[in-house]
């Protein structure tokens, strides 16, 4: 009997497939797998190769040595694939080390106008694009620019450092050195010098520029590669005071509407049902008196104080630097407009695991969650208790980067106290413990 029981335990449950989902990017994959993908028919190849077979440990056989050298050769070949720009799809950008400037032809004529616009919008430069932009493209073409870059009045698209670096790394953009940087005599020449920037030069030029750390860049490219649209969030700029005002303003607005009436009503009910705090020192916890229903007893028994995430403290606490929303993420399915970005699907804070080795404090996490707008469980979850708890009332994603390896954690503010289980008539609906979320990714 015992044997069959054990066997039953070891047998995979029906939905075990979903549990043990192997993430290929978790471990280094054998680059020989890449050989099976023909790059010439890239478009038709939609699925990636399956996990390859690996050996347990090295042995001195020639066979194993051969496979290993084949793997290394495959990796070498894959990595040495050049970044080529077919003349038909060739997009050229020019590096502007001093930030956005109007084109030379317009510089003299439009000085008066640019001064005006500068006075109006201090956050952007005179050309109407973020001041951190550092690459401009005169003739943009292709799908990618639907979600990347910001156009100025002269129809040039300006890229932020991470956008420029991502496009170059992807082989979709050819960035040129400006005349001023290659000793062409002209000190402030922003024109194309014709010398392409290498990947190495681009990293040196863009990494570390305007808050772009390699951790943030890892997160940016990792999600971009998967098709998400990413924009900088106000929390990107550490030093700016009140940088996250815009988002907390939204929340405070919602707060006023949300719990206003219901909150007062709830407090009234509390007062009605709980005239004095129950203490165990003087008799039973439920208190003396008449109890006409179980509900009443349960309510009196709930003596553990809890916190309601819908009624947040009015002055939102300040977030501390790494625990701050730095990216807004949009799913590939979300229609995205550069001029009017919609409400983000996810908010991400990036943490460097090497400099922050401990889990954030409750106050740090609390402030981070407070800075995100209220996102209560949807109607759809009204019957699913565990879904509701998992979704929470506010949520944020922590991207923890350990030397280029990114792990994502979703942190949600759940309200266990709001889920009054004793009120639920149909308890059988939720049986079994909640399925644990796969850790990281």
């Amino acid at each position: 009997m015992a044997d069959t029981d054990e066997a039953a335990i070891n047998l995979p449950a029906q939905d075990a497939g979903a549990h043990i989902e192997v993430d290929l990017s978790d471990e280094t994959q054998d680059f020989r797998m890449l050989n099976s993908i023909s790059f010439l028919t890239d478009g038709s190849q939609t699925s990636l190769p399956k996990r390859g077979e690996k050996d347990f440990e090295p042995n001195p056989t020639l066979f194993q040595a051969d496979i290993l050298s084949a793997s290394r050769q495959a990796m070498h070949n894959a990595l040495s694939y050049p970044r080529l720009h077919h003349p038909k799809h060739h997009v050229t950008g020019v590096y502007a080390p001093n930030g956005p400037t109007p084109p030379r032809s317009a510089q003299t004529i439009e000085t008066t106008i640019s001064e005006e616009s500068q006075a109006k919008k201090p956050a952007t430069t005179e050309v109407g694009v973020p001041a951190e932009s550092c690459v401009y493209i005169s003739a943009p073409k292709g799908q990618l620019f639907k979600t990347i870059g910001q156009a100025d009045r002269w129809n040039r698209i300006w890229l932020l450092p991470e956008e420029a670096l991502y496009l170059l790394e992807r082989g979709s953009l050819d960035i040129r050195w400006p005349c001023s940087e290659v000793g062409d005599g002209d000190e402030d020449g922003t024109e194309d010098s014709g010398i392409p920037m290498s990947l190495q030069a681009a990293y040196a030029a863009f990494m570390g520029r305007s808050g772009l750390t390699s951790e943030r860049f890892s997160v940016y490219t990792g999600l971009r590669r998967l098709g998400y649209t990413i924009t900088r969030a106000p929390g990107w700029y550490n030093e700016e005071e009140g940088a996250d005002v815009s988002e907390s303003e939204q929340t405070s607005l919602m707060r006023q509407q949300g719990p206003g009436l219901a909150g007062i009503f709830g407090r009234f009910l509390q007062w009605l049902y709980r005239p004095d705090e129950p203490t165990t020192a003087l008799g039973p916890v439920a208190g003396l008196g008449f109890h006409r229903s179980y509900e009443e007893i349960y309510r009196k028994l709930s003596i553990i104080p809890w916190y309601d995430p819908t009624t947040a403290p009015s002055p939102a606490p300040r977030t501390t630097p790494p625990y701050r929303v730095v990216f807004h993420i949009y799913k590939p399915s979300t229609p995205f407009k550069k001029s009017a970005p919609p409400v983000p699907d996810f908010r991400i804070a990036v943490v460097n695991a090497r400099t922050h080795t401990t889990f954030p404090l409750l106050s740090q996490l609390g402030a981070l969650l407070e800075s995100t707008p209220l996102d209560p469980p949807t109607e759809r979850m009204s019957r699913q208790l565990y879904m509701r708890l998992r979704h929470g009332y506010r949520n944020v994603i922590l991207a923890v980067v350990d030397e280029g390896v990114v792990s994502y954690l979703r942190i949600a503010d759940s309200a266990f106290g709001k889920e009054q289980i004793y009120k639920e008539k149909n308890v059988r609906g939720n049986k079994g413990p909640p399925r644990p979320r796969p850790k990281g990714r």
Binding site: Q29, L40, L48, F56, L79, I195, Q200, S214, E403
Partner: protein
């Protein structure tokens, strides 16, 4: 595969250590068991996260180990680029551009000839199919025999135009002329010029390989877990960052390309008090992912503790 000349310059950019040269990456992996983490996008398949490309990001521990071995040196890449490009001579610049152009031309030639080959193959297949069909048709319908062979050659051309997007995915930027008429002159084709733009991975051709002494940086600072790293590495293990598995270093018995990791390495001070819960949690975690949990620290007697 040429071995790069030593010491290999490691680029220090904004607090991280990068390698951009494929020769250096392959060499260090083969000879010194340094794998790093590939952090760039592969230009040939840019929409996935399983296979990544250059640059290779090195942990400070890896960079330190290589510097201590005398295999590599740390270079302030930002300074090198800025000063190097400013000091570039007119002749060097021209030479570099010429070189890039010839590379681009070569790439274009290779691609067009490959395309032609593919196209030829596809055409051949198509023709075979046609021929077979024609033969079949001829067998079945003897009376219409006289019209078939005449058309057999021409429709293949027409058909080919329709089939293009399916048969040849690169048809849109393939030569516009008919390939059969110009297989001998493959080079004179592309309607947009004869050279591809090239983005090189390294800045070595215009800039010198070994930068001047003023651009060298001191040895990288390493965390207190470095002794564990160095010890495991000396034992022949390949190490990679391990936060994803809840540890500091993932230890592989051989090249991670071919082997799964065996240990989850966590460093501790020799006389540090360990929380029993941590050990149990680590052990259980290790069992869950079929790896051993390993705690190590440097002691006054160079002793090592292993919990597996």
């Amino acid at each position: 595969m040429d071995d790069p000349s030593l010491p290999i310059p490691i680029s220090y950019i904004a607090g991280s250590y990068f390698l951009f040269s494929i020769e250096a990456v392959t060499y260090l992996r083969r000879e010194h068991h340094i794998c790093g983490v590939l952090s760039g996008t592969l230009p040939q398949i840019p929409q996935q996260n399983v296979f990544l490309g250059l640059p290779l990001k090195l942990m400070p521990e890896e960079a330190r180990l290589l510097v201590d071995k005398g295999v590599a040196c740390i270079v302030d890449e930002v300074k090198v680029q800025k000063d190097g490009m400013r000091a570039l001579m007119e002749d060097d610049r021209r030479k570099y551009l010429r070189e890039l152009e010839s590379q681009g031309e070569h790439a274009m030639r290779v691609q067009t000839s490959r395309k032609d080959e593919q196209r030829e193959k596809a055409l051949k297949k198509l023709e075979e199919k046609k021929a077979r069909k024609a033969a079949k048709a001829a067998e079945q319908q003897q009376q219409s025999q006289q019209s078939q062979p005449v058309v057999a050659d021409n429709p293949s051309k027409e058909q080919e135009k329709e089939d293009d997007p399916i048969v040849d995915l690169f048809a849109d930027h393939a030569p516009t002329q008919h390939p059969r008429t110009q297989t001998t002159t493959t080079t004179t084709t592309a309607p947009y010029g004869t050279s591809m733009g090239v983005t090189p991975a390294t800045s070595h051709p215009p800039l010198p390989y070994t930068p001047s002494a003023s651009e060298h940086l001191p040895r990288p600072a390493v965390p207190s877990s470095y002794p564990l790293f160095a010890h495991l590495h000396a034992d022949g293990y390949y190490l990679s960052p391990g936060l994803r598995f809840g540890c500091q270093y993932l230890a592989y018995p051989g090249d991670p390309l071919r082997f799964h990791s065996h240990f989850l390495g966590v460093s501790a001070e020799w006389d540090e008090e360990l929380d029993l819960m941590d050990i149990i949690a680590g052990g259980r975690l290790g069992t869950g992912v079929k790896k051993g949990f390993l705690v190590g620290g440097r002691g006054w007697m160079r002793g090592w503790m292993r919990i597996v």
